[in-house]
């Protein structure tokens, strides 16, 4: 039972990491008044780039490559949504489609039409001395790949930045009332560009975490809706860093259920567990209704 619990907590932390990274980035983007429906595509682009770069230059470079590649994808979105003021949802959907197609083309172009299963160097567990030997939570929390620690660092840093600095205030001002922000001498366009690029970088890192820290390979469409789940997580976490991180853990736990179900002998079809995170997203969004107040300018052109 304890063993199953440790496995469950460990799987929770592992699956929550890419979700948390993507959602924290998306939170910043949405705080600027832009909703990045293309996040799914950003994650996918980051995942492929991380695998390719890690294969050539090692794991660290893989994460950097993922973030750089996601910058490109996010730039397309920013160009259309911020500069050209195109419809955010249609643009985001197109960016996701584009990324799905481009990663498919590149992957098959590089590794053959059958898509040879890749073996790439992966980010192993980096155990923190002492902490990782704590009973029960030691291994799940403190013997994870570096990307999980990146989440630990990002949550307080983002909170400090958003609520305690001038640029953080500028971000929130643009998201709540772009006209007022303009009157105060802030350029909404510039703030939004920066926010979308930052969110893109984290989305790419999320893809990297998924490919080279969690799964260990690339598969077409491997993001499997995580970008959209991350957008739901941002709403559930009420656009605050701590809330978003907690919501990501809930979703990590929902995905991790499938890993313990068998050891506990639950006789439910496998597909029920696969579908569970998506059903949970629907339930959670419904349950949180009315108590959610998005940034006032969200989605406005």
């Amino acid at each position: 039972m304890i063993d199953a619990l440790v496995v469950f907590l460990d799987a929770t932390a592992r699956t929550a990491t890419p979700l948390a990274l993507a959602a924290l980035g998306e939170m910043v983007v949405e705080r600027s008044g832009v909703i990045n429906i293309g996040l799914e595509g950003t994650i996918l682009a980051g995942a492929l780039a991380s695998v390719v770069v890690a294969g050539a230059l090692g794991v660290g470079a893989g994460f950097a490559g993922a973030m750089w590649r996601a910058f490109v994808t996010a730039s397309i979105l920013a160009l259309f949504v911020v500069t050209l003021r195109a419809d955010q949802i249609v643009t985001g959907t197109a960016v996701t489609l584009l990324s799905l197609g481009v990663t498919g083309l590149l992957y098959r172009g590089m590794f053959g039409s059958a898509g040879v299963a890749l073996t790439v160097p992966t980010a192993g567990r980096a155990a923190i001395p002492v902490l990782s030997s704590l009973p029960l939570v030691g291994r799940p929390l403190f013997a994870q790949p570096v990307t999980t620690y990146a989440v630990y660092a990002l949550v307080p840093l983002l909170a400090l930045w958003m609520y305690r600095t001038h640029t953080g205030l500028a971000l929130r001002a643009v998201g709540e009332n772009a006209d007022a922000a303009t009157a105060a001498g802030i350029s909404p366009g510039r703030v939004r560009w920066a926010a979308v690029l930052f969110g893109g970088a984290l989305g790419g890192l999320s893809g990297g975490a998924l490919a080279i820290a969690q799964v260990g390979t690339f598969a077409e469409g491997m993001s499997a809706g995580r970008g959209f789940i991350a957008i739901a997580i941002v709403a559930l976490g009420r656009w605050s860093p701590v809330g978003v991180a907690l919501a990501a853990i809930v979703f990590g736990a929902a995905s991790a259920l499938q890993f313990v179900a068998q050891s506990l002998g639950w006789a439910l079809p496998y597909h029920v567990f696969l579908a569970f995170p998506y059903v949970l997203t629907l339930l959670a969004l419904a349950g949180a209704a009315g108590r959610i107040v998005p940034p006032a300018g969200l989605g406005r052109r």
Binding site: L84, R85, T93, L97, H271, A275, Y278, L282, A289
Partner: protein, 372 residues
């Protein structure tokens, strides 16, 4: 009266020319994008374009048995998206609604072995449409009741549908031998009749009929008017008090889902004859491009569906003949949507600029003639 008719005729003529120009630009852009991608990927663009042509429009067989067969679900799902977007409902869930429709039509088709085709085919198609509507009713209800953003909820429902089909074809609907993750083949009585020696089934005609029906309904009925009004300006519709926005939105969800579900039922009874997980190569997502390129107009959406049907049929041919992965089609679709968005945005910007120049020159605010 007379001048009004003249103006209308004038715009209709201008519209025809614009549509022709837009179609040429569209096809031209597709050719340029395909050539550029082939060249980047180290393939011979001429050979790739040749395969694209011969696989889509190059022969009678290619046109009827590949392009139009592919176009059928694209027209239906494209109409589903066009209708939803017209009402301001961002239904990205046509894929899941299609799968739900396919599953329901298969279940019903397999259950009614003995009955006459005149009964079973309409029943199976109706079951598909109802299942699609039911699938769409979940995000519709979530939006109506809790204000849940349908972009997220419809996509979540897509994944749930995928896993539901995955479960069905390994459980209740699996073929009797229990080896393959797919259903048994549908009996002859539930298969759509084919048209004159081709692989094209009457589902294509049904799709065209749906396009004409949707066009007429949006143009000429009170319900269609309500759909257009809540899409154009929900605040005005609400404050005018004549339109129940929530109800109209919910009904649009249902109808949109029914069209996508019908697409699934038609695909199962007309093309695949059995249910399996990879039944749809992303028709529900391509549908977004179909609807947008069709300017959300039902008749243009049907034309756009045929265009994208040709693109997808051609993409299958270039994978076969020129060794270029068929996901190329997805890249072209996305690029076309982005091109369209850029064109619309730049035109709007140019107009705004033009209007400022005009009002500056004549010293009065220009008004009218420009939609926001």
């Amino acid at each position: 009266m007379r001048s009004g008719a003249l103006v209308r005729a004038g715009t209709a003529e201008g519209r025809g020319a614009r549509i022709l120009l837009a179609s040429l630009l569209l096809a031209g852009s597709a050719v340029v994008i395909v050539s550029a991608l082939s060249a980047i990927g180290g393939h011979d663009p001429v050979r790739v374009l040749g395969a694209l042509w011969s696989g889509s429009l190059g022969s009678r067989y290619a046109f009827f048995s590949a392009t139009l067969v592919r176009a059928t679900p694209l027209i239906l799902t494209g109409l589903a998206v066009a209708l939803a977007f017209t009402a301001g409902v961002m239904n990205i869930g046509a894929e899941g609604q299609l799968l739900a429709g396919a599953a329901a039509a298969t279940a019903l088709g397999l259950a009614t072995r003995a009955a006459s085709a005149w009964l079973t085919i309409p029943l199976a198609l109706t079951a598909g449409a109802i299942a699609g509507a039911a699938w769409a009713s979940v995000p519709g209800w979530l939006r109506r009741q809790f204000g849940v953003l349908e972009v997220i909820s419809t996509i979540m429902m897509n994944f749930v549908a995928l896993y539901l089909v995955g479960y069905l074809v390994r459980g209740p609907l699996q073929e009797p031998l229990g080896i393959y993750p797919q259903s048994s083949s549908l009996p002859e009585g539930v298969r759509l009749p084919l048209l004159g020696g081709t692989r094209l089934h009457i589902g294509f005609l049904l799709a065209l009929a749906c396009a004409v029906g949707a066009w007429w309904a949006l143009r000429a009925t009170a319900a269609g008017f309500r759909v257009r009004v809540i899409g154009a300006n929900p605040e005005a519709a609400r404050s005018a008090g004549l339109i129940d926005v929530r109800r109209t939105t919910f009904r649009t969800f249902l109808l949109s889902g029914a069209l996508a579900g019908l697409a699934g039922a038609v695909e199962v009874t007309g093309v695949t004859y059995s249910l399996y997980e990879n039944l749809s190569p992303g028709y529900g997502y391509t549908a977004i491009a179909v609807a947008l390129i069709g300017a959300l107009h039902p008749l243009l959406t049907a034309v756009s569906g045929i265009f994208f049907g040709a693109l997808e049929a051609g993409a299958a041919a270039i994978q076969r003949d020129a060794g270029v992965p068929s996901v190329l089609a997805t890249v072209v679709e996305a690029a076309l949507i982005l091109l369209l968005l850029a064109a619309v945005a730049i035109r709007a910007r140019w107009r705004r600029h033009y209007r400022i120049v005009v009002s500056g020159l004549f010293g009065r605010p220009a008004s009218g003639g420009d939609k926001p």
